[in-house]
Symmetry: C2
Subunit: 195 residues, 2 copies
DNA sequence: GATAACAGACCGACCAGACGGTTTGTTATT
DNA sequence: AATAACAAACCGTCTGGTCGGTCTGTTATC
């Protein structure tokens, strides 16, 4: 029987790729970047090391795929929030804050920890910086041309980023009340009423 | 001849410790955390691996010493800026911004890159998180009780941190003009005139 | 429909090098 | 003489990556 392939069912190899990626994320989230080895992925995934290397020809390739997926996940969440916003001015900035600190589909604890791990890993895989940097440029451009005072918008973005990084690196334990107050204030500022 | 020891001259061992620490910093700054190995330190310092392990009994110990030095360097710079500030309100916050983004004695390119490396390394040495976290609590407390609106003060701090991290991780290339505009705005906000 | 030809998926053994750390021995300092 | 400061050889482990080969399924040929 000929297997008819719909749009959203994957070939065997593609399934394996997904499973490997998922395992890699789990490892990185649970045990840190240093624990991301082929052996570990092999164990978690049931595949042999050779099998994994069949799909990702090097560790760089594996990490690169993770970073790309990560970035794309964030941008999807961002775009989603952006379309569900009626007010024009500050729309992008609001979406940015929401996608980073709020409860967008993209975010969540394990996404955050993954972000921390990836950020840390950036040091060891310098070429991956380009991917992140490009996304960063897009964000900065979006924020600067959002109908807000560019400086204020940038500050909102930086504070958002600072809060997120501090949290995901687990260096800061900001009081939850303070956190929501901060987020609320940042959101306020995205409404040109103030200024 | 008896060598009289003044307050600021170090014993031979202490000198070696300093040299090892300095070499470790250079390595971490130039080649990243992953390149920080005993062999590398040994090469850069001229000492043998055994000699290094004589002073730092494990890699953890070495990294711990680096983190402690780093934190203490920052706090020195912070304290320095704090005392040279006449206005009472917002003094700590101003010092914080200055010590992080300005030209305090503590800051500088190699200090920044060191900070990035250490931040990244925090993932592999979880116990060191405590050190950083404690310093972080001190900063947050300082900022919240600085005669400013605590939420605003926190946002200033977060934006500062975000800008610094983005820069040291090299993920953001903020336009210099924008950067100084941001810093200026943040500094403005530390003067309770506004509010 | 049987079979040959091919391709992708995967295994498992292996390797060369790196790394953290130990041990043992030597030199300098007091 | 005692102790601190080193040196050098060495060890066990782990890691990324290679390689030859197998197994499975699909396509072409007859």
């Amino acid at each position: 029987m000929k297997r008819q392939r719909g749009a959203s069912d994957l070939s065997k190899g593609e399934i394996a790729r997904e499973r490997i990626l998922a395992a890699a994320e789990t490892i990185i989230v649970d045990k840190g970047v240093a624990a991301l080895t082929f052996d570990e992925v092999s164990e978690q995934t049931g595949l042999s090391k050779g099998g994994i290397l069949h799909h990702f020809s090097s560790k760089d390739a594996l990490v690169r795929a993770m970073v790309e997926r990560f970035v794309s996940l964030f941008e999807t969440g961002l775009a989603g929030l952006e379309t569900h916003d009626e007010a024009a001015a500050g729309r992008y900035t609001r979406a940015y804050v929401g996608a980073t600190l709020g409860n967008a589909t993209s975010t969540g604890p394990q996404y955050d920890r993954l972000g921390a791990a990836i950020t840390a890993a950036l040091h060891n895989f310098p070429d991956l910086l380009l991917i992140v940097r490009q996304q960063n440029i897009r964000c900065q451009t979006g924020v600067e041309n959002d109908g807000l005072d560019p400086v204020l918008a940038t500050i909102i973005r930086l504070a958002t980023e600072g809060l997120w990084l501090a949290e995901v690196f687990d260096v800061m334990r900001l009081d939850p009340k303070m956190k929501s107050a901060v987020v609320a204030r940042l959101m306020e500022w995205t409404h040109p009423a103030k200024s």
